[in-house]
Symmetry: C2
Subunit: 438 residues, 2 copies
Amino acid sequence: MPEYTAVPMSATLAADEALARRRRAGERVLPMASGEIGLPVLPALRDRLAAAADENAYGPVPGSEALRTAAAGYWARRGLAVDPGLVVAGPGSKPLLFALLLALGGDVVVPVPSWVSYAAHARLAGARPLPVPIRPGEGGVPDPERLREAVTAARAAGRDPRTVVVTVPDNPTGTVASPGTLRRLAAAARELDLVIVSDEIYGDLYFDTPAPAGSPARHAPERTVVTTGLTKNLAVGGWRTGVARLPDSDTGRALHTRLVSVASQIWSSPPAPVQAAAAYAFGEPPEITERIAAGRRLHGAVARAVAGRFTAAGALLAPVRATCYLYPDFEPLRDRLARTHGVEGGEDLARFLGERHGIGVLPAGAFGEQGQLLRIRAATSRLYGDSDAQRTAALQAPDPLALPWIRQAVEWVGDALSDLTGARPHPHRHSTAPARQF
Amino acid sequence: MPEYTAVPMSATLAADEALARRRRAGERVLPMASGEIGLPVLPALRDRLAAAADENAYGPVPGSEALRTAAAGYWARRGLAVDPGLVVAGPGSKPLLFALLLALGGDVVVPVPSWVSYAAHARLAGARPLPVPIRPGEGGVPDPERLREAVTAARAAGRDPRTVVVTVPDNPTGTVASPGTLRRLAAAARELDLVIVSDEIYGDLYFDTPAPAGSPARHAPERTVVTTGLTKNLAVGGWRTGVARLPDSDTGRALHTRLVSVASQIWSSPPAPVQAAAAYAFGEPPEITERIAAGRRLHGAVARAVAGRFTAAGALLAPVRATCYLYPDFEPLRDRLARTHGVEGGEDLARFLGERHGIGVLPAGAFGEQGQLLRIRAATSRLYGDSDAQRTAALQAPDPLALPWIRQAVEWVGDALSDLTGARPHPHRHSTAPARQF
């Protein structure tokens, strides 16, 4: 008898809507709560969607052959060749992740910290999330040793974990698990007979190397599902498109049947015009590749500049290598923050930055961490401008930080942190500056 | 500990894909298994989607204010005024129906027969469907007296039914519950404290009267959720767009909070470019109203012509008043069908028509009925032509049955039924006719 499963509103989407309300009320806000990519659609990609506007048939549940073939090519170019028959497209990678948990059954290991929706997905699927901490600096992947212990203990207690979800590169920490950790994770999953669901939506936002970030699918190909989409690399989150790559194994083929059945009952098929545009994008013609590279450069430059402000303020921060997220830890400043501002945990930090400085960030508690930790997640992907003209200029700039609106946003963060740490305690510094709203 | 919940692939989508495979293999098939509307997109509507192709932001989880306001206007014009704040848009009414069951919790009463996905949704939400038969000729609404008995017995047995799903007008029977039945259903739901989820996706396909079909929301406004979309009236199923109208009551407002949370975790927001087009469509400017009316006339004319072939063959059929579905019952021919063709149930009937005549229909078992019943569902919405030119001509024709391709499709059904009933037993009559494929 199912009681209603209480899941919270997605913290990122809730924070975004709260910021939008404040903005409409005339307040100046710096939106760093959600990782929505504040960039316009590449015109060539937009034109593909427009050209497909008369496509009104459902088509196959797992997506068109053109889209699945293009997605298979995208993965093949990243060392993960796959039969298009094992690709399943959906209206976003979020619904695919949820449907995968429904199709897999059993309980689900989630990293701590991890993206706001994995635990909610597990609960909505009738499962219980089994939290396992990451190794320091290697977010998104549960520490393989602690994974072994937790799964063994859970099974001894009568629970039935069958899946471990990982994020490579990681949201919220912006870090990337090392090949060694991925290898050990894969070995542990094999030993424990767990399916790995690897969310690789940030796979193209890995800054310093042309090589892709690692994937557990290299180490445990028979049991790893990979998901991705065009939300981060091409900024079309609002279009809702994602793809899953199922393993070429008996496990993968059985899961394919069940996943397609679940998809047929929940969403029928991905939106047809979006499928046509997504097939073009996953095909990666030169203009798409260039645009993805430009986004990567911009995200890297701005994330690192903002990271500099956090470390200058005395927060701990892992080296910035991927995504558009910073996950600073203010633990070294605990005494001072408590004394000067009564800030004693992640919620206090987020409230201080939000109410006093109009900067929206999320407390670490939104990602499954304990409330007393002085950690927040700050997303830098919406600091690129107020208009499409500014955002396009940011994409094209050799040095985005030389653009006044971006420099101003970085300073806004720096000033707020100075106020927080007492280095320069005057709030509302920006209140007399020209109104700037995102 | 959740075992994997085995749900079948959506029977309509599975049958469609099987027919598509046969067609690709060069076979001639008449696709009457799914109710996909085989008509092109209205050009003005297509243009709205194309013009919104650069909309790439998520926007609010329940959909844009423009879309929710337009949907509220659509309902107001049908006597169901609602605050746009109680409207929730999603990527199809199917995901909304599923999310509603997740948000409501408890077990779910479903009519017998009913659409293939309600029972699957209940199971995926961790609930059990509680089947209650309809009154003859009033499909989509469980017989109110039997609803009382079933819910009372289920509660006595420790189960917790909280919701009853209804379909007005109905799929699969193509019938419309009478106002009296809707009133008694509403009274029973109030007495039993059940929420009514009323799927009104066929609300604009009610043939003979300008008045809308009834809705339980008129009789139990405090507890009725209404869902609809643009899949049937404007033939854009592949776009994936739907809306839910929540009751203006404490129940409705609490449900709204939970539904939006579930939506935020499963699909984030409906596809943004589709939202823009849907806002235009729900606004119902004259060209949209005319197109909906033309579709209604075409569906009515063709459904009735095909119905005539079923009744001429000796099947029982309720008067055709809405949708694009026929639900003939061959019980009067049971002895003859068993003797001449070994046909003893719905599956046998569907197999006979499919394998011997290339006509795809679904057995009543797909809708929760017992296998030995000699009932099938035949959808007539894809008999309008092989090309957009033919389909547009069908929409515009004063007498669609005068068009050769539609007449031929109706004759194809008639000939197959003649073969079935022995009136003219030669199969493959069409095998020498010019190839015609849908």
